[in-house]
């Protein structure tokens, strides 16, 4: 059967922003390099040494009131995602399973990754785990965490003996 990747972008070029295949390859490469420096050894769990199939890419955004983390987890069953906040670390883990339709078929091309995933993110600010929410939509997990109220500072009295 023929379904062959086609790279001649000229044939489908859009009038507004013509882009060459080289530009597109650069974008893909940039992304790969970004990920490499972010996690040069993949998602290797520090405590168990267990290898994970992949680490989802994330965005971390901070406002004065909250920290928002978004992770790309397309095709992952939301009920199989675990979101955990421990101290200043947010841990996203779970697994991406092949659907029934994908099992045991004649596979021509297999680029998508399946299996367990793990991503640990050090949060830029201390957050209140009790005021965190996690939503899944269109393959994107969004975790919103309220920052702890800014500590006003406290003067410690020196006890003289």
């Amino acid at each position: 059967m023929s379904l062959i990747p086609w790279r001649n972008r000229g044939a489908i070029s859009r009038s507004d922003q013509p882009r060459s295949i080289i530009d597109v390859m650069h974008d893909d490469l940039d992304r790969m390099i970004d990920r490499f420096f972010e996690q040069p050894f993949g998602a290797l769990s520090a405590d168990t040494g267990e290898r994970f199939a992949f680490a989802p890419p994330v965005d971390v955004e901070e406002t004065d009131k909250e920290v928002t983390v978004r992770a790309e987890v397309p095709g992952v069953d939301p009920s199989r995602i675990e979101v955990k906040i421990t101290g200043d670390t947010l841990t996203l883990s779970g697994s991406k399973e092949e659907t029934k339709e994908e099992k045991g078929k004649n596979v021509h091309r297999s680029e998508r990754r399946f299996g367990s995933f793990l991503r640990r993110i050090t949060l830029p600010e201390s957050v209140d785990p009790d005021k965190a929410t996690a939503d899944f939509s269109s393959g994107v997990l969004t975790v919103r965490m309220a920052k702890r109220p800014e500590s006003t500072g406290r003067t410690i009295k020196v006890n003289a003996k």
Binding site: I4, W6, G10, P18, D23, P57, E62, E72, H108, G139
Partner: protein
């Protein structure tokens, strides 16, 4: 095919908006059954209505715009890995695919295309007659 050579003009890179103009290549799986080819592509963050699937001159192109995320006021980025822009990927279809009956579904960030095989490409069981 003259268009292929016009795409590289110096202006494109200079005027390209920083992040929005990026085009990513979705990871795809292609599977075959007796009657269909199935193409599965990861396109997280898209909306069904912003996904464009078309066949032109035997080239199947999937394209999905991922909308800019609504960031809070004064939001500051600490990490940006998850791409915003467009996903795009093209495949050349053989004449064994019936391009008039392609079905597309989008769920949980995954686009699934079902491409029925053309009648002549389907497996056919030949009855053996006995006299």
């Amino acid at each position: 095919m003259t268009a292929c050579c016009q795409t590289t003009n110096g202006q494109t890179t200079e005027n390209a908006p920083a992040r929005e103009a990026r085009t990513y290549r979705p990871a795809v799986d292609v599977l075959e059954t007796a009657d269909n080819l199935t193409l599965v592509a990861d396109v997280p963050g898209a909306r069904a209505e912003s996904i464009d699937v078309r066949v032109e001159e035997g080239i199947l192109t999937i394209r999905a715009e991922v909308p800019q995320r609504d960031t809070g006021a004064n939001a500051q980025w600490r990490l940006r890995e998850y791409g915003v822009g467009a996903w795009e990927r093209s495949f050349r279809l053989g004449d064994d695919v019936d391009s008039s009956r392609i079905d597309a579904a989008y769920r949980d960030g995954v686009l699934t295309l079902t491409l029925p095989k053309a009648e002549h490409a389907r497996p056919r069981k030949i009855e053996v007659r006995s006299n």
